[in-house]
């Protein structure tokens, strides 16, 4: 599958921000297996772009296609199929079940369309340093820990595209590197594509392509 953007621009962003962008109002194709970095200063619509790509919002002009399918016409049922099979995401605002345990947050995603066995969850959690938190409620975890939970959750399903919206904002360099390694490994395993949106470039993610928003 490829994701194609055709002259997409948000309805709510100032014209000058759109004219200088390599993404807005362009014709873009994200290819299978490609790693793309989107560098976006605050307020340029980074999170909006991720939400458009994931189908959460429709307040844009232009069109976005999953393969040949214009996602504007997809119904909730079709989106759920894409989200459990083809497109996974780490939200900037994480969107975790705060009152549930870390394990339950991860299991509820894994059970939907299991890519890994249950034991893999503990392995990943240990690798990112949150193994001891598995049976604790998410609300008791720090924001950095919650970010790692959100990253591990995104990896519990098969996907062709992994959308990452500032996934490391609250992680130190060491944890960033660990998380990036895990993400790259899992994405390679699926021969999938990764679209990472961040405020500035970083040295541990080597994209095939960088785009300024």
């Amino acid at each position: 599958m490829q994701i194609r953007l055709q002259q997409v621009s948000p309805d709510f962003i100032e014209e000058e921000k759109i004219t200088g962008s390599q993404v807005w109002r362009s014709d873009l194709v994200f290819h299978p297996g490609e790693k793309v970095k989107i560098i976006a200063p605050s307020g340029s619509g980074k999170t909006s772009l991720m939400h458009f790509l994931y189908g959460l919002r429709k307040d844009y002009s232009g069109d976005i296609f999953y393969a040949a399918e214009n996602i504007r016409t997809l119904d909730a049922e079709s989106f759920s199929a894409y989200r459990s099979r083809s497109v996974s995401i780490v939200f900037q605002d994480l969107r975790l079940f705060m009152s549930q345990t870390v394990l339950l947050n991860l299991e509820v995603k894994r059970q939907l369309n299991p890519f890994h066995t249950e034991s893999k969850i503990a392995e990943m959690a240990n690798r990112l340093g949150i193994g001891s938190k598995l049976n604790k409620p998410v609300s008791t975890c720090s924001y950095g820990e919650q970010q790692r939970i959100a990253i591990i959750r995104a990896l519990q399903q098969p996907y062709e595209f992994l959308l990452l919206d500032e996934p490391f904002s609250h992680l130190d360099d060491n944890n960033r590197r660990l998380a990036m390694d895990l993400l790259e490994e899992e994405t390679s395993l699926r021969k999938a594509s990764m679209i990472l949106a961040d405020l500035k470039p970083n040295d541990f993610f080597k994209p095939d392509r960088s785009l300024n928003l």
């Binding site: 199929a81 989200r83 969107r95 079940f97 339950l104 299991e107 509820v108 995603k109 059970q111 939907l112």
Partner: protein, 395 residues
């Protein structure tokens, strides 16, 4: 997707609303119990009152007149052709015939054997309505002998009341047929005598009947009256206690022998009470469903964020609504099974304790009760599913 409710159960906030949930279940149970018991009692009443009818394999014959009250005494009380056609149209009436009577003065005397003289009336009705019609029950113009059929009650009255008071001998059914009664007809300045002869006694007809040909001829001959509407009809029905028949007669304001339809009236009242109970049961079910829907709405509103997030991370709205709704199927089945069991126990108790020895009453519940239970169960599940689906798709 190998998912089940247990995977999403922790994300549904149900805890703090137990009272309204249990009230919903209890209301549903009580409503269904009321409905099922009412249906069962309806069936019981039908079975009990039907079997009380001594002529349950045959027909009932009822005479019918228009009700005469002080305020309508001057009105015409005869039945028109339209009245009769309407009666014939009713599914619970098998046949209708008119009684015709003499419209001129008649007198009868018994001669030497039976020393009495009286004013007389005669009626006629189609032979198919008379239970005993001998071949001799026929008359044609010029014939002096007039065959008569009288109610067997009249003979009984004569033998037990009239004859002893006058010191006269009683008559058997056979001897009365040998008796000749002089019947004098007066009209238009003419008098003519006929030789009346009782050819049969009837258990069904409570009057004095002669062949229709005689009444038609005599009314024309002695009063120049032909083709007038009858004041009395006779109807033939499979069940005189049929509440539909009674309702129809009441609605038309027709007067009937109330004793013949006594059980029908009781049945009508009981059925009305039981129908009222069933209606109340339906109302309780509806209220319970409303209460339950409030509970569902509240639960979904409270779990709104969680359910939204489940949809966001890829859960199918169709699967989610189906799974959430299915959670209540066992509850509905349990409520229904409980109500059905309770109805069965009540029926068993009714048969063994209250109606002991009435074999026509089955100790087990009627198939209709089971069918209604299944229909209500399916309806409840369907309404519940629809509601959950609607609420979830609205998120």
């Amino acid at each position: 997707m190998n998912l089940s409710f247990k995977h999403i159960a922790p994300f549904l906030v149900t805890g703090q609303n137990k009272i309204s949930r249990w009230l919903g279940y209890a209301g549903l149970g009580i409503g269904i119990l009321l409905l099922l018991c009412s249906i069962q009692m309806f069936v019981n009443i039908n079975q009990l009152l039907k079997s009380r009818d001594p002529k349950k394999t045959g027909y009932d014959y009822i005479s019918l007149t228009k009700t005469i009250r002080n305020e309508n005494m001057a009105a015409d009380h005869s039945f028109t052709d339209a009245d009769m056609a309407d009666l014939k149209k009713q599914p619970f009436i098998d046949d209708v015939a008119a009684f015709h009577s003499n419209k001129f003065v008649m007198k009868a005397n018994g001669g030497a054997t039976l020393p009495f003289e009286t004013d007389l009336f005669l009626e006629s009705i189609d032979d198919r309505f008379i239970d005993t019609v001998p071949p001799s029950f026929a008359w044609k113009e010029g014939q002096v002998a007039l065959p008569i059929i009288i109610s067997s009650d009249y003979l009984e009255l004569y033998n037990t009341v009239f004859a002893p008071s006058r010191d006269l001998p009683p008559f058997s059914e056979k001897t009365i047929s040998s008796l000749v009664i002089a019947i004098d007809c007066y009209g238009l300045g003419e008098t003519q005598r006929f030789r009346g002869n009782v050819v049969a006694l009837s258990d069904r007809i409570n009057t004095v009947v002669v062949p229709e040909s005689f009444i038609t001829w005599a009314n024309d001959h002695f009063a120049h009256i032909t083709g007038i509407n009858p004041n009395k009809l006779y109807i033939k029905t499979r069940d005189a206690n049929n509440p539909e028949l009674l309702s129809y007669l009441q609605q038309k304001d027709y007067h009937i022998n109330r004793d013949k339809t006594r059980f029908g009236r009781i049945k009508q009242i009981l059925q009305a009470i039981v129908s009222g109970l069933a209606g109340f049961g339906v109302l309780v079910i509806l209220l319970a469903m409303v209460l339950f829907s409030f509970y569902l709405q509240l639960m979904i509103a409270r779990s709104r964020e969680n359910l939204q997030l489940l949809l966001t991370i890829g859960y199918s709205p169709h699967w989610l609504s189906k799974t959430v709704a299915r959670k209540w199927i066992p509850v509905y089945v349990a409520v229904m099974a409980g109500a059905l069991l309770m109805t069965a126990l009540l029926q068993l108790g009714f048969q063994y304790v209250i109606m002991h020895g009435r074999e026509e009453l089955s100790p087990s519940i009627h198939w209709l009760v089971g069918t209604v239970a299944v229909v209500v169960l399916l309806l409840s599940v369907a309404i519940n599913n629809r509601l959950v689906k609607k609420l979830l798709y609205r998120l």
